[in-house]
Symmetry: C2
Subunit: 344 residues, 2 copies
DNA sequence: GGTTAGCACTCTGGCAACAAGAGTGCTAAC
DNA sequence: GTTAGCACTCTTGTTGCCAGAGTGCTAACC
């Protein structure tokens, strides 16, 4: 469909445009690159490329800029793969070094690295949906009138809270009740635990049901812990270095969009496929970012989805660079997370 | 020092400037307000106020704008106190309604409310520095080869982790060791727990010291939990509606500053005094925000510092409004937090 | 037939000149 | 002490103009 020369010219235009942010003219191409072609020839080819939809002209007698279709072709088949340099690898490792341990910090750092290296906005969404089963509750002494209740699931998620005991209730009573609860619920999916069941068990031992609200709270916590869905943003300040955002209104629009967690989460959908996925300009479903591109990858550990991270920026984006960083991070996170997955 | 008429004029200028963002001229004042004074008279007074340092002139033949000193006088003695309307109260309560429970969510919501109502950037910093003492560790069964270690402090902070047991080590061994550790450490400040002590105890029972790294990790977690220090930001998008930030570079400068958690935390220092504190323009120590004002209040619960929240915006800020919202939030949070303080 | 030089045409961006508007400061009169 | 009048200053928006860059087309060239 496109002969090699057209492809080459398209590639050069896109790459030049990515680095200069100015419409590219035929003369600039012939001057900057040793193609052995005169501006006139290149002009003809560019004209063809425009008709085919790969290029666009902001106005007559300006150079041309890539269209979404042009970028698409570029990322799909023209782009020269890059690799992160050793320097950058070292940098990344240093960044993580201090942060290993706390999962939250790891993701926060990931967002930071991603935005710093891509000079764009980064979004990291962590997701886990671990169906979990009740294993047991246990009561630990704290002081007179107060005990700690610990709930453990089959998978080892642990959550606790402090319970203020009513008069005349002692830890021994609680232990007795714990046993009853455990008998009744052990092995059940935690989402199936009902208030009524708990009330019932509770009343068998105490007059009243003061326990159940504590238990329900803690169960909610467990579910929350199992179903983490957080968002980390980074690099919003990079927007301003991009000429496409010299218009304040566009920055505002984008930033207020990014403040809506729900919206952002919708944008960062879990990809079915593995590997890096790219959405360019109007390919985006969300109106606020139709002149942006998004590069995203979903990250899995042992087959389970852990999260998705993305770089969001103008369509004029250093795709090769971003992809290389994403790839590297994906590998690197594999190692980092494998080491910390037991903890939360 | 300032007669009543000067004060009145200064107040009107400041209030007009706050709402219009344009330098205020003598004619505008005499036209908009029924002072019974001609522009010329007002002009003379304004000239005086400028000499005294309360007003500034962007250039000859523009109107005048308040100086930092002018704002200072205004907030200290001219400002007419506002109260949040019932409508707003209801709004705030609705916002919190859904969020009660999780402390993090409460603060996140606080930031959101603060920025939405003040139409400025809000910063919420939570701080707690609870010195805590070791109480005991306890081991709970999970599955063959894995147990849960729970650490409890005197104040009831609880933290846990999963331990992968080496071959030939069983939960009974761990319980034995727990006892030894508890004997040795119970009542000690958690910060005084040393690696050497743990290694020693561990070696008395096991060959090797596989336990200590787990324990140290968990102790670090406890300390982290006791010394929470988080930051919630909101409303950065509001910047763009402010004419003083129509210059992209200033927005960039401010936003990249806000991305530095450390810096922001330095800015949001815990106030000694209670009540709302205001820092205006050049009174700020940080160079990036010297044309901004910050209104902040430190929030305490039972005498203990819980956090500080702040509104950051251009010196031309609706101080009365911001102060009223802060005051109300402070009261309201008292109630919300008192209800959730047991949990984390 | 593909490639290239030449040329007329078009559009943007920057610059200078200009007028309108707003505000001040000063003086003199009330 | 207050006010009207007036000259002066500074900003802002508009207009017109020119240079620069790029295109499209035609005709010549290999």
């Amino acid at each position: 469909m496109l002969n090699d020369r057209k492809k080459k010219i398209l590639q050069l235009i896109i790459e030049d445009y990515i680095s200069t942010a100015e419409p590219i003219g035929s003369r600039a191409i012939s001057r900057r690159h040793e193609l052995g072609l005169s501006p006139a020839t290149i002009r003809n080819e560019m004209s063809d490329l425009e008709v085919m939809g790969y290029l666009e002209q902001p106005h007559t007698s300006a150079g041309r800029v890539p269209s979404a279709l042009g970028y698409r072709l570029y990322v799909d088949s023209l782009l020269a793969p890059e690799k992160v340099t050793e320097n950058e690898e070292e940098l990344i490792q240093n960044w993580f070094q201090a942060k290993a341990g706390r999962l939250d910090e790891v993701f926060r750092t990931t967002a930071k690295i991603l935005s710093n290296m891509s000079r764009n906005i980064s979004i990291v969404r962590t997701q886990r949906e671990a169906p979990c089963q009740f294993k047991y509750v246990k009561f630990l002494p704290l002081e007179a009138g107060r005990v700690i209740m610990v709930l453990v699931t089959e998978t080892g998620i642990t959550e606790n809270c402090i319970i203020n005991l009513p008069e005349e209730v002692y830890i021994e009573d609680m232990e007795r009740m714990g046993e009853r609860i455990n008998n009744k619920l052990s092995g059940q999916p935690i989402s199936a635990v009902k208030k009524e069941t708990l009330d019932e068990v509770c009343r068998e031992i105490f007059t009243g049901d003061f326990m159940t609200s504590y238990l329900l709270d803690i169960i909610a916590d467990v579910q929350l812990q199992g179903r983490s869905d957080k968002l980390f943003l980074g690099g919003t300040a990079h927007l301003f270095s991009q000429p496409e955002f010299k218009d304040v209104d566009r920055v505002r629009e984008l930033l207020s969009m990014l403040e809506e967690e729900g919206l952002v989460k919708d944008m960062i959908k879990v990809g079915e496929e593995s590997g890096v996925q790219i959405t360019i300009g109007s390919e985006n479903k969300f109106s606020g970012i139709q002149n942006c591109s998004m590069v995203q990858a979903t990250y899995r550990l042992n087959g389970q989805i852990v999260g998705t991270f993305a770089v969001l920026g103008p369509t004029r984006m250093k795709y090769a660079k971003v992809i290389s960083v994403m790839d590297y991070l994906q590998q690197y996170l594999q190692a980092v997370l494998a080491g910390t997955q037991d903890r939360n």
